[in-house]
Amino acid sequence: MDSAGQTVIPQGAEFAAALNRLWSRFLPEIEQRLAVLESAAAAATKGTLAPQQQEAAHAAAHKLAGVLGSFGLDGGTSPARETELLYSAQAVPDPGQAQLLVQLASNLRALIETRKQAQAPAQ
């Protein structure tokens, strides 16, 4: 707090830079979670999704739903939550749901790639 009792907000650029550094540091984990979703969705379309893989996909979707928005990817929360919900069911996703899971994973991939490109240093 400053002398006027206001919250001290650091330079916006400084905070954004610090957040970007965290994004870069945790990007491999985020991409790993996404890879789990892509792999599970592919297995679901082939009818080979194992319960353990479904459980892993459920956990990965839950984590992505909880974190993407904090890195400015608000558009990732809804597809991640929908994915989490689809994998939370006891039953294996049906063919229609499997196609939806592929699309949701693809949407998440596109968002993450856009964020990566926006932050990539100029060549």
């Binding site: 919250t7 001290v8 907000i9 957040l19 945790f26 739903a65 993407l68």
Partner: protein
């Protein structure tokens, strides 16, 4: 004097973004723990002004950690806010029934996390 807050979350990314936010924007003193067990130890050691507690953690989960905090006279009165990505109303009711001081939702906005916490705890 700056507030002190203990963040208990097993997810490194969430923990670090929250810590960055509360330290650099809120100006608070932040203590972190990566598990319920570690969180209990840090809470006893530092007696922070408040605890931000993740719900879903391997081993000792958030609700169990909360009950343990309440059992210990050193930590029993420290306000606890749950942090969760569960948005279904049945989950929210279950968490509220625990007797926590508030529930915050992931994903949080790092620019406003400190105001959400301060508001929930009446620190404004």
């Amino acid at each position: 004097m700056a507030h002190s807050i203990l963040i208990i979350d097993d997810e490194d990314d969430i923990r670090e973004v929250a810590a960055l936010s509360l330290e650099s924007i809120g100006g608070w003193q932040v203590i972190v723990a990566a598990s319920g067990t570690q969180g209990l130890a840090r809470a006893i050691e530092h007696t922070p002004d408040a605890i931000l507690l993740d719900v879903m953690m391997p081993g000792m989960d958030g609700p169990t950690t909360f009950r343990e905090l309440r059992k210990n006279p050193v930590t029993a009165k420290i306000p606890v806010l749950l942090l969760t990505a569960k948005v279904q109303s049945s989950d929210q009711r279950r968490f509220a029934d625990l007797g926590v001081d508030g529930i915050l939702f992931k994903p949080f906005d790092p620019l406003t996390l400190h105001t959400q916490i301060a508001g929930a705890l009446g620190w404004n």
